[in-house]
């Protein structure tokens, strides 16, 4: 609070006024700019600055090596080359991360594609040719490429947490059924359509201004500052918007911004760093692939009795966000299920690959995939329909997670499950599909239902804070600024709605200014689905401070015979009465606790719930499949912005289905000269979902009467949870594969379940007959 005059106008965070602007189904606030090509992204600004220099990396073509010799002088013979940036140019700390294990200019190459140095040119073509002229000689070192190799070599990094409840060994000893298995699955490339881009310039006082495609402007600012050896106040980072982020721009932009800033300070000219798709894919981190071994026990009713598991994530060459990703994976291995006793070990493989990082779900999907794979594989062995097995094991009210947090609103799991079962006609379609399959030997359909429970808040309590700046101008117009970034998720749309609701003004009176670190400092990443919760809380706080100061003004106008003064008249009067018309808002999530050492506490404000039913058809000749229909019921609380939320659910679902069925990261695992190279480093070799992968029928319903106490206007986060609804597609594929063989047999399905993987799975089912 910035004033002692605040009147008690603060309302409970979740209470929504009758005439709220939140809850209206608005399209994206920038949609008209998007569709007309007027929306500006960082690289679109290059032509608006004079004399911009372009940067191009020199990428190592080995997976692991010491740099024996670096000779940049041939680059200077290339016309148009202005400067080559190397470690010797760094005035501050030569590191691009917060863990100090990511040298910006390395002397040891840690992965194929690692940037050795950067060439600045008058044109991108000059920089490219200059980079090709740089001579680098290597002393090669042995490279660890796969997780399995890392496990064998005991190549690990960072913390090795264990999540524990009860005595799992004992529970397994007493269990009716005990099953073991291994579940290994691939990572995922973000493939935001806009590749990484930073544009840096320096003013007359040495102030550095970096425009970057970043989800975390404050951390970009901090890394730029430490590379340059200057305080944070000498660096400003702005993000107009991103062409997609998905977590890939949470930590990965920092080093690239630092290169641009370093170049700008050394040359005095603006410097642009924009990665090509191949550079982006070969240099920046991805979703972690995991390898899991497990032993699970069930009682005679198919209820989970105990679980022992070891999860090994493929961290790549440096830690970056691997530790919190692993924490979230462990905290989500239960997904929506009560597991009375468990012991789950986690560890992070160090491999000679890109440094794997945040990606929508942040380890949650990986943990949940393990338990869903377990249930999908074990159901036939238990003699249960997978849907029945899952339904029986859902959390009930009063139960707690393995880390000790009560599962608030556990009844909503059953609610979304039952609602989507009914709206999808699950029982009738199950029978219909069985009939269809009996009549079609060469193609099979499958159907599956899976639930999602996803914890909302940053696991690390400190990050759950946000700031905002709200200006009311003399004419009554409102300008808001907050610490969150816009990457397509509709955060700005929601924040405009929150401000209009809080102030009680029409939406058109509110405008939003770009995210920048000199407006709102010390922000957290726009991540963990928490952008609207946190920044919405901060905006509401700022608005209520202003309303508090306006209340006496309103009273004075009423006393003066003007009881119906308009907002504009009120604001004008307040100005004349010398009342502050702007405020800085702040919000922190209450009630969180987390002990990373014991992996216990209540790290999440609440859980988001959802359930999906998916139906697929598989071609028995090729393994190719189509997704015929998807039904979703999802809990977003009382939606702040229904069109935005449905868009997040649909988009997250399709992105999750891409991870699970299509997107196939391949590294060269041979011992040849290309060892460690990402062979799927382009749109032509790495396939994300296209129109043809969209479910043919796609019904998304928001759970009604889903008010969430303690969250801004009763809403819930929506960015990440829907991604995991896509497990239903994978389980439906498993169901279809099983239909090629005799009933009651388990189906093992590789992930991603590409047509090839599905073909091998259905072939195995066939051969069992």
């Amino acid at each position: 609070m910035t004033t002692t005059e605040s009147a008690p106008t603060t309302t409970p965070l979740s209470r929504r006024p009758d005439d709220a602007v939140v809850g209206a189904a608005l399209h994206h606030e920038a949609a008209a700019l998007h569709v007309t090509g007027q929306a500006l992204y960082t690289d679109d600004l290059v032509g608006r600055l004079p004399a911009v220099l372009h940067a191009h990396p020199v990428q190592a073509q080995v997976a692991h090596a010491r740099i024996a010799r670096l000779d940049v002088s041939p680059a200077h013979d290339v016309p148009g080359v202005v400067r080559v940036l190397t470690a010797a140019d760094v005035p501050g700390v030569n590191d691009a991360g917060v863990k100090h294990d990511e040298p910006l200019f390395p002397d040891e190459i840690m992965y194929h594609g690692h940037a050795v140095c950067w060439v600045l040119g008058e044109t991108l073509e000059a920089a490219r040719r200059g980079a090709a002229a740089v001579v680098v000689e290597y002393d090669e070192l042995p490279a660890v490429v796969t997780v399995e190799e890392a496990i064998a070599a005991e190549s690990f990094q960072g913390a090795r947490p264990t999540l524990r409840r009860g005595d799992a060994a004992n529970a397994l000893a007493d269990a009716e059924h005990v099953l073991t298995g291994t579940t290994a699955f691939a990572g995922q490339e973000h493939f935001y359509l806009e590749t990484h881009c930073s544009l840096a310039q320096v003013d007359e006082s040495g102030q550095v201004f970096v425009q970057a495609s970043t989800q975390h402007p404050t951390e970009t600012q901090e890394i730029v500052a430490h590379v340059l050896g200057v305080p944070s106040h000498a660096v400003t980072v702005q993000c107009l918007r991103m062409g997609g982020g998905f977590g890939g721009k949470e930590m990965q932009p920092h080093g690239l911004a630092a290169v641009a800033a370093l170049g700008a300070t050394l040359t005095g000219r603006p410097v642009r760093v924009r990665l090509t798709r191949a550079q982006d894919m070969s240099m920046t981190g991805k979703r972690h692939g995991f390898h899991a071994t497990w032993r699970v026990g069930f009682d005679r009713d198919g209820l989970l009795a105990g679980l022992e598991a070891t999860l090994t994530s493929d961290g790549g060459w440096s830690l970056d966000l691997s530790e919190p990703v692993l924490s979230r994976a462990l905290c989500h291995i239960d997904n929506a299920y009560w597991i009375p006793a468990l012991t789950v070990h986690g560890r992070i493989a160090r491999t000679n690959k890109t440094s794997q990082t945040a990606f929508r779900g942040f380890g949650g999907p990986q943990g949940m995939l393990v338990i869903e794979d377990i249930l999908g594989r074990c159901a036939p062995l238990l003699g249960l329909d997978p849907a029945e097995l899952r339904r029986r094991n859902l959390y009930r009210e009063g139960q707690t997670t393995p880390y000790g947090q009560p599962v608030r609103h556990a009844e909503r799991l059953a609610a979304v499950w039952d609602q989507v079962s009914a709206s999808a006609g699950l029982i009738a379609r199950r029978a219909e599909i069985d009939r269809w399959n009996a009549a079609h030997p060469r193609a099979k359909r499958g159907i599956a239902i899976t639930p999602v429970k996803f914890g909302i808040s940053f696991n690390f309590t400190t990050f759950n804070q946000a700031g905002a700046l709200v200006h009311v101008y003399k004419d009554g117009s409102v300008l808001i600024n907050h610490g969150g970034t816009e990457m397509g998720q509709g955060l700005h749309t929601k924040m405009l709605q929150v401000a209009a609701t809080a102030l009680g003004v029409p939406l058109a009176r509110v405008r939003l200014a770009p995210t920048r670190t000199d407006k709102v400092p010390n922000t957290s990443a726009t991540a963990a689905s928490a952008g609207a919760d946190l920044n919405g809380g901060a905006i509401k706080d700022a608005c209520e401070q202003i309303l508090g100061r306006l209340a006496p003004v309103r009273a004075s106008l009423r006393d003066g015979g003007a009881p119906d003064a308009s907002w504009e008249e009120l604001v004008a009067a307040a100005y004349h009465q010398r009342v502050q018309l702007w405020a800085a808002g702040f919000y922190k999530t209450e009630g969180l606790s987390w002990d990373a050492a014991t992996m216990t506490g209540s790290p999440f404000k609440y859980f988001a719930y959802g359930a999906a039913v998916a139906e697929v058809e598989v071609d028995g000749f090729t393994g190719a499949s189509t997704t015929r229909r998807v039904d979703i019921v999802h809990d977003v609380g009382d939606s702040l912005s229904p069109l935005v939320d449905v868009g997040q659910i649909e988009g997250g679902f399709v992105q999750g289905a891409g991870w699970l069925t299509l997107e196939d990261l391949r590294w060269d695992e041979s011992t040849g000269p290309g060892r460690g190279r990402l062979t799927t480093n382009a749109a032509s070799t790495y396939k994300i979902p296209s129109l043809s992968e969209m479910p043919e029928v796609f019904n998304v319903t928001l759970l009604e009467r889903a008010h969430e106490d303690g969250v801004v206007y009763g809403s819930k986060a929506v960015g990440e949870p829907p991604l995991m609804l896509a497990f239903s597609v994978r389980e439906a594929l498993r169901d279809a594969c099983a239909a090629f063989g005799p009933p009651g047999r388990p189906v093992e399905l590789a992930s991603p379940a590409t047509p090839e993987a599905v073909y091998w799975a259905l072939s195995a089912a066939r051969e069992a007959s």
């Binding site: 569709v35 007309t36 062409g243 997609g244 988009g651 997250g652 399709v654 382009a682 396939k687 479910p695």
Partner: protein
């Protein structure tokens, strides 16, 4: 003709380096709506509209969406281009823009201008009105063919609102200037050249001039630039001379008779598709699976065969159809059977001084045909295995079998052992099983990032069985 009309305003190409692509040229001029997403024609974020000859061969114009990242800027000389900025403004949205905006069709917005242009091309497609009223498959009740936007990737929305926007479009209103433009002839394909100290982009006006230019050392023939553009953008390839042949009349013939189909090598796949109108079923089966509409709008058969790629999708089909190529040089013409054309990985019998002038397909084709493409995605993907079949069954006996394969050897190949295992045999499941076993032994499949060798072999073994079950003789 070293200028181009963009959104109604002439922009000079003078001083533009010849290897500059149209996207970079437009963006450097301040039109930053079109974006680079992949620089290889796979994502469509760079899609813009170009006024092209109507694909049906009439002397009218079709607004055609192309990947600006692949087209050389020089190829725009004398042409008319419309970008997302030119279609509408935030205060006066084009119908396509309005539907996308209000339905939540944009989230991050980066792919959106490209979607807008691809959708606008279909919005203005002259034949769309005729297709209206029969929704189904990938077609809306308004005649909108979703394949028009199959080459555009969106990472945010999951596509449903984009599809809904596409299906909500009306026909262009009276007075729509871009709709009116269609009825006039397209811009002429004038001779042009663009040079700097390193390279030249040359568009000769006649075949003779083009053939003379092939003698220049380092000359590269370009038509749609859908392969060459990728080489330039991703692999840094540069040529001293690029010879544009895409508008040479001698390479743009089309003739379909009862006994023969002759396709000019520089016709785009879209033009071929429209002019055939399904009259050669195997080619009709190929077209929707060949890359994407954005690529088909520029790519040519000559280019697909000229690069000699082992995974080009047209070769397996044309091998099954027993096509021949007419090669032309300053010394004259010769006709080469496609089956004898490929000599090794991206190598052929075509001499450097020769152009592919046309593709000749004998007709009628065998009645039982199919095209199988094995890929991760059914559309807008590159095949791991492709197979074209043309089989003639009479009185229950296989009279003739021609099978072309891609992706299983260094070149596209004919499945000769399989053909032999079929011909003269009864068209039964037993014969098919035996022939399928032979087919599993065709070629020398390898493992790569697209699929394993084992899967390729398995798919070879399955293809004939799938054909037997699914194909219906015409």
């Amino acid at each position: 003709m070293n200028s181009v009309v963009v959104n109604g305003v002439a922009r000079s190409l003078a001083g533009v380096p010849p290897h500059t692509n149209a996207l970079d040229f437009l963006r450097a001029g301040g039109l930053t709506g079109a974006k680079e997403g992949c620089a290889e024609g796979e994502c469509g974020a760079c899609s813009v509209l170009v006024a092209r000859p109507a694909p049906d061969g009439s002397d009218t114009t079709e607004w055609t969406a192309v990947n600006a990242c692949l087209a050389p800027a020089a190829a725009l000389g004398g042409q008319e281009v419309v970008t997302a900025e030119g279609l509408g403004t935030p205060d006066a949205l084009h119908p396509v823009q309005r539907e996308l905006a209000v339905r939540g069709g944009s989230q991050c917005g980066y792919c959106t201008p490209g979607f807008v242009c691809s959708m606008a091309a279909e919005y203005y497609r002259a034949g769309r009105a005729d297709d209206a009223g029969t929704p189904g498959g990938h077609r809306g009740a308004n005649g909108f063919d979703l394949h028009a936007i199959g080459g555009n990737l969106c990472r945010c929305t999951g596509y449903r609102p984009i599809r809904d926007a596409a299906y909500a479009l009306d026909q262009p209103a009276a007075g729509d200037a871009l709709a009116a433009r269609r009825t006039a002839p397209p811009p002429a394909a004038a001779a042009a050249e663009l040079r700097d100290h390193e390279a030249a982009y040359l568009r000769p006006g006649t075949l003779a001039e083009a053939l003379a230019l092939l003698d220049e050392p380092g000359a590269v023939v370009v038509a749609g630039s859908t392969d060459w553009g990728v080489e330039v953008n991703l692999r840094g390839r540069r040529a001293t001379t690029m010879v544009a042949v895409d508008r040479l009349p001698e390479l743009r013939g089309f003739d379909l008779t009862a006994t023969e189909l002759r396709i000019g090598a520089a016709l785009t796949l879209t033009e071929i598709e429209r002019r055939l109108a399904g009259r050669v079923p195997l080619l009709a089966a190929l077209m929707p699976q060949f890359a994407s509409r954005l690529i088909r709008n520029s790519a040519t058969l000559g280019g697909n065969l000229g690069t000699g790629s082992p995974i080009g999708d047209s070769a397996p089909v044309l091998l099954a159809l027993e096509a021949s190529l007419v090669l032309v040089s300053a010394a004259g013409e010769r006709t080469v059977p496609l089956a004898g054309y490929f000599t090794g990985y991206r190598a052929s019998v075509r001499r450097p001084d020769e152009l592919i002038r046309e593709v000749v397909v004998p007709l009628p084709a065998s009645p039982l045909t199919a095209f199988h493409k094995i890929a991760k995605r059914p559309f807008d993907d590159i095949s791991s295995v492709a197979a074209g079949f043309a089989i003639d069954v009479a009185d229950g006996v296989v009279r003739r079998a021609r099978i072309g394969l891609g992706g299983v050897a260094a070149t596209p190949i004919r499945a000769l052992a399989t053909e032999a295992a079929l011909e003269g045999r009864p068209w039964t499941a037993d014969t098919v099983d035996e022939a399928a076993a032979a087919m599993a032994g065709e070629g020398t499949p390898i493992s790569d990032q697209r699929s394993s060798a084992d899967y390729r072999v398995a798919m070879l073994g399955q293809a004939l069985r799938k054909l037997y079950v699914e194909a219906v003789p015409a």
